[in-house]
């Protein structure tokens, strides 16, 4: 196991300079999720209009993997329909299972592929994406 395989430069950049960190106004879809085994926590907010994610923001606390994943995810889903966003979440899950996956429109996400070799850290990377799935569900109902 090589540390550089896990902690790629792109990941550390998102950790150090998080994109979309913050909150949206109250009428956005809000999801709180924590990882009970480790204490990582995310609050994800989605501004959904006509079935499209206009904006996604998050706050939370966690390791470099969980927070960089949240940073990338909120960037990647912006402007996507709920179905497209769900498709990204599925793709991300496949990558965590070690399948070769390409994110043509948002290549940063591929930097997280190394996490699949560190089974204990997969739940860190998927926290934000699980929040997204819940948010999509809630967005569909609203």
């Amino acid at each position: 196991m090589q540390l550089d395989e896990l902690y790629r430069r792109v990941i550390m950049d998102h950790y150090k300079n998080p994109r979309n960190r913050g909150t949206l106004d109250e009428d956005s879809v809000t999801v709180n999720l924590n990882n009970p085994t480790c204490g990582d926590r995310i609050e994800l907010q989605l501004q959904v209009e006509n079935g499209v994610v206009k904006l996604a923001k998050y706050t939370g606390e966690g390791c470099s993997i969980s927070m960089s994943s949240a940073s990338m995810m909120t960037d990647a889903v912006r402007g996507k329909t709920l179905d497209e966003a769900l498709g990204l979440a599925e793709k991300f899950s496949a990558m965590m299972q070690g399948q070769p996956v390409e994110f043509e429109e948002y290549e940063d996400l591929e930097a997280l592929s190394g996490v699949s070799k560190f089974p204990a850290r997969i739940k860190c990377a998927t926290l934000a994406w699980n929040a997204l799935r819940k948010g999509i569900e809630a967005g569909r109902q609203s």
Partner: protein
């Protein structure tokens, strides 16, 4: 005792992890098992295995003797007055749940108080929350000093004549604090409360004498003290156990059954419904033999000295925050500035050093310490100062790696 020699008794320690000799520093979560414990379990399954208490054949007698012999061994290990005061359980959690479900719910009335400390493991917190909800009792907390210690004056000030149960961890799995349980028990008894001790982190590391502490209940787990997982015990004073209702019903625990009602065996068997954890008890007995051969006093001295050594070595690293007092049981809990404990633990793992990162089943305490998670290195009889040096070297590497990556 010589940790280098003892190490050889643990087959699992003789391996490389990620290209480095394994340094196992997650003993507060679960300890490793010596060859003698592994062999005892194998021997039991190869020679003596049968169900206990109900067969007339030879293997059934051997299995029963092994199981009840293990109970007697646990009783001696804790200096209980009788083996009838030892209930085998899955571990500390299920032992504490028996007290909270059976004793507590029978005794507690609305407005009664259960007194805990802010450093309790979820296993010694949630069962009491639920007992309080079910009975209308209230939870009260003994204040904690900034270094994590408890002052007896604060215990005295917290207890009232409504206090019915005081439940305190003997050794904190986060702070390493050793609580004055004997003195707290005396104060609890003065106001008519029972004293429950969570011994998950003390039984593996020090001589425990339940009669000297004069606690009413004491719970511990086998797997943290060289025994197998899935076995632990609840010590309870016999006069209390005898009055308590079972929490699990079924075979093994009954005296007389008809179609509409049943009566229970006496304690401790009434608390052991179903086929018990026989091989686990055999393994636990072998673990107790292993530990007592070394001597609990020697083990305590070793773990404590190693923890103090680690505390001082880690204190010298810039950017490390340590939690809890310097005088402590065998573990150190810390954070490296700017690096999440998960990331620390991953870097250490690539260096072959196994530590724990997370909230250590103490979420309220984490919030009190104003952290979301911490890293913890916990020691046992096979750890050495060289292991601490490997920890230090790996931490410096983590610091450099993230300093560079984040910088």
């Amino acid at each position: 005792m010589n940790p280098q020699d003892l190490r050889k008794a643990f087959p699992i320690l003789n391996q490389q992890v990620n290209g480095h000799p394994l340094v196992y520093l997650d003993n507060a979560a679960s300890s490793q098992k010596p060859r003698s414990v592994i062999d005892a379990i194998v021997r039991y399954y190869e020679h003596d295995n049968a169900n206990v208490h109900r067969g007339v054949h030879t293997l059934a007698s051997r299995a029963t003797d092994a199981y009840e012999g293990a109970r007697a061994k646990v009783a001696r290990f804790l200096n209980a007055a009788s083996e009838r005061e030892i209930v085998f359980t899955r571990g500390t959690t299920s032992a504490l749940n028996i007290v909270a479900r059976s004793y507590a719910r029978a005794v507690l009335r609305e407005g009664d108080e259960i007194v805990l400390t802010p450093m309790e493991h979820h296993a010694n917190l949630i069962p009491w929350q639920q007992a309080a909800k079910a009975t209308g009792a209230v939870l009260r907390y003994i204040p904690m000093q900034p270094d994590g210690t408890i002052r007896l004056a604060d215990v005295e000030a917290t207890l009232t004549d409504r206090t019915k149960i005081v439940s305190v961890t003997h050794v904190s799995n986060v702070l390493g604090v050793v609580n004055p349980v004997k003195e707290i028990a005396a104060l609890a008894h003065k106001c008519g409360a029972v004293m429950v001790v969570d011994g998950a982190q003390s039984a593996p590391h020090m001589k425990v004498d339940v009669r000297d502490i004069d606690c009413d209940f004491f719970a511990f787990s086998g797997h943290k003290m060289c025994g197998p997982t899935g076995i632990g015990a609840l010590y309870g004073k016999l006069e209390l156990l005898e009055k308590m209702e079972p929490v699990e019903y079924g075979g093994e625990m009954i005296e007389h059954v008809d179609y509409y009602d049943a009566t229970w065996k006496e304690s401790p068997w009434r608390f052991e419904g179903g086929t018990p954890i026989i091989a686990g008890a055999v393994g636990l007995a072998a673990a107790i033999d292993f530990l007592t051969d070394i001597g609990m006093e020697a083990i305590e001295r070793h773990s404590t000295e190693l923890a103090r050594y680690a505390y001082d070595r880690l204190s010298a690293i810039e950017g490390i925050t340590l939690y809890g007092p310097r005088e402590r049981a065998g573990l150190v809990t810390f954070n490296l500035e700017g690096v999440h404990p998960h990331d620390v633990a991953t870097v250490l793992d690539t260096e072959g050093v196994a530590i724990r990162a997370g909230h250590h089943c103490c979420q309220p305490l984490m919030r009190k310490l104003d952290v979301t998670a911490t890293a913890r290195a916990s020691f046992y009889l096979y750890n050495t100062e060289e292991d601490v040096e490997r920890l230090v070297a790996a931490l410096i590497k983590a610091k450099e790696f993230f300093g560079h990556a984040i910088g």
